[in-house]
Symmetry: C2
């Protein structure tokens, strides 16, 4: 009996380091060969070089596809492509499925059409559908032609759904049984397979028309008497999904009901696919990453070793939006230039009013957007939420406003200035609270996505609003 | 054969509405009873009232615990507690496990010690460990005493780990077998159970000492010959975890290797628990929510219907930090008050320099922090990443700087001012890029968490830095 091989995350890090070390050695040898051009030397180095490559290749062959993907994502472009060349062609497909979109692009760009078709041929229809959007169009057409009728139909169906729909995430690795056989027969049927599809925790019970009648969980199969009929032990009220369902809601259902797999049925009740927890976990992770990236002003996931130009393209859109909102805020200040000329302390204090308002507004809007996303906040809650947020803003505004007014008094010695600052901070935080509740609820009622750019919008309002309120109050009462 | 009961997310929303409608009716009747105080009337209304409550209770009994949790989270405090009273006591425990931390607090606060102990008694040791931190201390002590020795040991062990460690997330529902028996024997053994633990996709093979020797996947059990020995068909290199492992890394391993369950072994190789995908999914979701909330300046998950005071407490810490950084920026401006007095356009333009720098710096630091979290960025990559980010910042700074300089020239008609603005924007974006790379890498080397408050830190630097660079350059070249 061999020892347990510990595939824990630490050792993954170790393996990445091993690959990097081998690459390093490979490069050192290459440099040596370039420098010392003697015939004999070169031959020796060539052998050493080959040996390193062979060792690296052996290492890669041993790794799980997800680990190869991780290694590829962790390497700068040049080394990434060197390693990619060493990966066996028959593994290309599964590894392309595992890498991030940004890295996949760099790998596909490095492959010729022959290699791409060879890689794609090792995949199932649902996996092909995941890859297809990144492939050149003529390759996709060629692949379509090479598939049999069933696979082609499945690929077409998967491609017909939006990437946020269940239909795009489902697979077709389903085991179906009839309900009028005994569990003994089911067990014999299963033993005819060499292996069962991944994440098979239930068998789907269908009638001769393909209509789903229930599911038989494997656990139930194992504990029940072999003589029992499928119809008697199956569950006839499973959680099912429609291919047009929203993938995010499906993921929430997987979380809520602790599912491992679930049938997908069309509107006639016919079984047409299967969702599994691994796809849902990937979906949850991607969604949450998109949220974080978006909040930071990045359009999409970026290959960390991407070229400067690629990164510029990924980032310019949000910078442009930011520039516009900053310009508006700047023009608001421009309105009050005479006031600032007369009392220059205003210039130093105004960013505080805007900044605290922005922070407070972001707190509110994040809460509301989150509540909408989980379905816990509806338009009808508006009044109640507004009351609460206004209350919070009032307390925070008055408290921090007093702290700040105290500091401003110490710095500038003017009671009137301190009072204006306190009033402006409180008013701007009230504005932030109202907008933080209104904006997402209005977008919800209009049918938009309340999350998109919400932080930019609220910051724009609290910046311009904060400058306007503070400088306006100062003009009215101080000058 | 009954129809398939479609438990899709839409119908969950429906059920929430049904509960709300019943609550509404219940309240209407109560109002009626209060208004019309005739003896006879009251009796009739009382009956109607009772009927509504009974219907509501029936509805709740039918719901999955996770759905009851969802309903509770979606109701304002008063109605939430009304519904909570209607939930059967024996279900309290499982529902408390499902609700969010913030909502759980409100429910526990509404229960007396008798109810709490009844609820806790229905839970396993690992579930109790999840609940224990929210329970009053004397209740936990009382519970400890009521457990048998094995359960108490398990509870103590689970409580001894940090909530970010595998030991705190593992459960003890493991099926173990020996390796010298046939699959036939294993099947017979399994049939002795009424039900198998959730997420049982593999059986753990241990020797007489409790040392893990391998795992037998259920799928393998189903397709293999009943005469085969466990030792011959089991996998002897499963992915295993240590109770002290980081939960986030375990979650990544679950994603990477598409696991459903995995054994947890101590440093002697003894099986001590089990991790399952549902716990990992919850962990992933909680981590990503914490990231989003943190980025918005919220300390922790907030019950959307929390009281004003609770919300103020949740939010004040980040506001305080923000106030400090804003004060520093304000003092930087204060240094240049004479410059602003002489050229008031500076006051209007300076927020643009600071704002764009902040956006750009956040883009950089988010990329780097994310790369560190996934292990793809190491300290050794610093130079390469710095080169790339500086390149991106230079291009963006010069491009947007030129756009802005053009606008400033149109507004103020001064070439010198436009050039100073261009220079300040570019320099501040370079500062943002350098700090966006340095800060997380330095914190990584020092062993801290690079994510914590990274956005606040970089924004503080680009604000104060932007004001200083712009006003400083203006003082040097324009006055």
């Amino acid at each position: 009996m061999s020892e347990i091989n510990r595939k824990s995350p630490e050792s993954l890090q170790d393996r990445l380091e091993q690959v990097q070390e081998l690459l390093e050695r490979h490069r050192l040898v290459e440099n040596l060969v370039h420098k010392q051009d003697g015939q004999h030397q070169e031959l020796v180095e060539h052998l050493v070089h080959q040996q390193n490559l062979v060792e690296l290749q052996r290492k890669l062959d041993e790794l799980h596809p997800a680990d190869v993907a991780y290694v590829l994502e962790s390497l700068p472009l040049e080394e990434r492509l060197a390693v990619w060349q060493l990966v066996k062609t028959e593994r290309d497909g599964e590894i392309l499925l595992e890498v991030s979109d940004a890295v996949r692009e760099t790998l596909i760009a490095d492959m010729d059409s022959h290699e791409l078709i060879a890689a794609a041929n090792s995949l199932d229809a649902d996996e092909l559908a995941d890859l297809a959007p990144d492939l050149p169009r003529d390759i996709v057409r060629e692949l379509m032609d090479s598939l049999d009728a069933q696979q082609r139909d499945r690929l077409k169906s998967a491609l017909s759904y939006d990437e946020d729909q269940v239909g795009a995430l489902m697979d077709f690795d389903m085991l179906t049984i009839r309900d009028d056989v005994s569990l003994e027969v089911v067990s014999r049927y299963l033993r005819r397979f060499d292996a069962l599809p991944d994440h098979t925790d239930k068998l789907f019970v269908v009638d001769t028309e393909g209509l789903l009648k229930g599911v038989l969980s494997i656990k139930k199969l194992l504990v029940s008497s072999p003589d029992a009929l499928v119809a008697d032990v199956m569950a006839d009220d499973p959680v099912v999904f429609d291919p047009a369902d929203d993938a995010g809601e499906a993921a929430q259902a997987f979380e809520r009901y602790d599912l491992v797999s679930a049938p997908v049925v069309d509107n006639l009740g016919r079984l047409c696919g299967r969702l599994t927890i691994d796809e849902m976990v990937d979906y949850i992770r991607e969604e949450s990453e998109a949220e974080v990236l978006n909040a930071a002003g990045l359009r999409e996931e970026e290959d960390i070793f991407a070229s400067v130009w690629k990164s510029v393209r990924n980032r310019w859109a949000w910078l442009a939006v930011n520039l516009c909102t900053a310009l508006v805020a700047s023009r608001v200040i421009g309105l009050f230039e005479t006031a600032i000329e007369q009392l220059v302390a205003l210039a130093a204090l105004m960013p505080i009013v805007a900044g605290i308002g922005g922070n407070s507004g972001n707190q509110t809007i994040t809460m509301i957007v989150r509540g909408i996303a989980t379905g816990q906040v509806q338009v009808a809650h508006g009044k109640r939420l507004l009351r609460k947020e206004v209350g919070v803003a009032l307390i925070n505004g008055l408290f921090w406003g007093c702290v700040l007014a105290g500091i401003a008094y110490l710095l500038y010695g003017s009671v009137a200035l301190a009072i204006v600052l306190l009033a402006a901070m409180t008013l701007n935080m009230l504005l932030a609270a109202c907008m933080g509740v209104f904006i997402p609820l209005i977008r919800l009622r209009l049918g938009g996505d309340p999350a998109l750019g919400s932080s930019v919008l609220i910051t724009a309002i609290t910046d311009s609003g904060g400058f306007f309120i503070f400088l306006g109050l100062a003009t009215l009462f101080l000058l």
